[in-house]
Symmetry: C2
Subunit: 392 residues, 2 copies
């Protein structure tokens, strides 16, 4: 394998996907789902890219999760029919949802209020469409959803069921898992997520309402859950690439991060120990997700072109098309005490103009979205362009 030569020919900045790492990530999550006895419905908002999603399906995923109707439309055009639109539906989006279903897409919607449920019912009646709707459950207080024990759960379910919709099930996403970084806390949150959504399902069934699907997931909770009793499917997105936020959470190591940004050194401020690279926040995104975690990587962890991490070297600052790269001072033992060794002084010799580097992102979903395409490289050194889409 020699990927350095083809990477040296790319224009920078460029988004790179390490296909071997991605395939290992896909296999790992699929094995989790298989071992836990549930289906895996990956969230494709991370990649928005056909070859990535095809690899997930080829590994055993059943259906996909999307965050926009554009994703639904694009992946339906690829032949994928089992699609969950995992953002609460609103009346103005129902015509687009109807159009997808009329073309044969088995699109599932979600809601968490009687008001929205009634809007779906009214629109479905008007157009003679039996929408499938899942109810969103709030198991960790971080965003949308009905709490598992709230009376409103039954009200929403009855409005849908009695109004002629297919009540498909319940779903939840414990997104607050990103805020934890210990095994105990992640296991506890995974159980809270599972117990909550299962309770909601049991309440619906006890009220005589159908609830075939019980769906949950985030990358950290699906990887750390001890069991999935009562659950039928799990969802996760960022695992396909992983990133520095997930490394800090503790669910991946740096050599599992499959997405990076290829950049070129364009200048220096030698007295400050800075190298300037052509990947600023337009390439990395403005995501500073590691700022509040145990290790702050600035705008990204810097690696050599062959992917070797440069310890303590991060994008410590970013303008639109300029990244500021610097080495942190390093703690060293000296005569029995810890001292801060100065960072490498001669940055222009260490990383001369023209040097190519790979930068690992804080948040793969945000960084990928900055690029019209990925450059996917295989262990053989083969480089392929994978288009991705953006917008709504």
């Amino acid at each position: 394998m020699n990927i350095t030569a083809p990477l040296a020919q790319l224009e920078t900045p460029a988004a790179l996907v390490d296909v071997s790492r991605m395939q290992r990530n896909i296999a790992r999550m699929q094995q989790r789902a298989d071992a836990l006895g549930v289906r895996l419905r990956p969230h494709v908002k991370t990649s928005k890219c056909t070859p990535v999603v095809q690899a997930q399906l080829a590994a055993g995923a059943q259906g996909i999760t999307v965050s926009t109707l554009k994703e639904a439309s694009q992946f339906f055009a690829d032949g994928i029919t089992d699609i969950l639109y995992a953002v609460g539906i609103v009346a103005s989006k129902l015509p687009a949802a109807l159009a997808l279903r009329r073309h044969g897409c088995d699109l599932k919607l979600i809601t968490d209020s009687v008001a929205s449920a009634e809007a779906i019912v009214a629109f479905g009646r008007e157009h003679g469409e039996r929408f499938e709707v899942w109810i969103e459950i709030d198991t960790d207080g971080h965003r949308s959803g009905i709490k598992p024990s709230e009376p409103a759960l039954i009200d929403v379910a009855r409005a849908l069921h009695d109004g002629g919709c297919t009540l498909g099930g319940v779903m939840t996403h414990a997104g607050s898992s990103y805020d934890h970084d210990t095994l105990d806390a992640l296991i506890a949150l995974a159980e809270q997520e599972r117990a909550g959504v299962v309770l909601a399902a049991e309440r619906l069934r006890a009220a005589g309402l159908p609830c075939p699907v019980v769906s949950l997931g985030s990358t950290p909770t699906t990887l750390m859950a001890e069991h999935m009793t009562g659950v039928t499917e799990m969802r996760a997105g960022v695992y396909v690439f992983f990133d520095l936020v997930m490394q800090n959470v503790g669910v991946c190591s740096g050599d599992e991060i499959a997405l990076s940004v290829l950049a070129t050194v364009i200048g220096h401020q030698v007295d400050k120990g800075w190298a300037i690279v052509d990947a600023g926040w337009m390439a990395m995104s403005r995501d500073r997700g590691t700022a509040k975690q145990k290790h702050d990587y600035g705008y990204g962890q810097v690696c050599t072109i062959d992917g070797t991490v440069l310890p303590g070297c991060t994008l410590s600052g970013a303008n639109q098309e300029h990244g500021i790269l610097s080495f942190a001072s390093i703690d060293k033992e000296w005569q029995g005490t810890t001292v801060h060794a100065p960072p490498i002084i001669d940055i222009a010799t260490r990383l001369p103009v023209g040097t190519r580097l790979r930068i690992l992102p804080n948040h793969a979903c945000a960084t990928g979205a900055q690029f019209p395409e990925y450059h996917a490289f295989a262990e053989t050194g083969e480089l392929t362009t994978w288009e991705r889409f953006h917008g709504w």
Copy 2:
């Protein structure tokens, strides 16, 4: 004028441009340049959009500034030839720069090191091309450039001049102006920027080297500079739309912000006082530029669909496609003391599902980049789609 009806028909989230505000912003900056006796070379990285840039040129701008060679290529295809690529050139980008010049684009490059100057010279000789190069000057220590009094300035200039390049001039960008918010500090920084770049020009001329262009600028410094003695042109970008960061800096008011994101309320968490909207960080960008300023607007200031600011109402949180909207508690005078009035309690009645809102962005350059197009509306109520590009 009734823009509410057409805006109610758009799919959300959508990026809106208020054309009247944009035209006023363009006129204001052009009048500044005219009054100061210098040319205006707007930075088009903010909009990446042909109708916006054409409006700037129609108002009197001379030439444009770009942050990527893709911008250069796209705007050259529109017929614009006088283009400054304002990011230090590196050898791997010289073939693309050469191709543009060979097609008739009067592309100017910049550099701040002997190493890069020598690379340009060598490439120019090899291909028989006389590149025009400007030298980047560092007047505020925030990023790239040679300090005005550094010996390296003359070394770089001689390398270019003796090597057969056209030494076009000097340029600087006092980007640290974004960190200030008082008139005195902005005036002082503008003078520091001006004095520094003029000193660099004088040193070149004293060394017998040509320096026809003396270029400077950022939106805050160009708006606050007291004079431009010795300067030939000014550059600014974000002024065309303005944003909440610029409002905090003090160079615009909220009713001058021309870019906003149209969003729809999709749900609530009534007990928390939250409305959930369909504009998350994918729409607003992850830019939290106001977090360190005197007023933190979260992910954006919320307005009604007709553009009226809702005081204290911001996107206080964001996931990829979910924005969390909340009202801050409001300080009120009560029996002689200041008390925190509770925020509006009944959020679901105040902003029911389906409500359309406009959200002003922290940073127009970052928010615009999330969208494939702007929806530009005129005072007449006319709505036009303006495409924009992204990527490199």
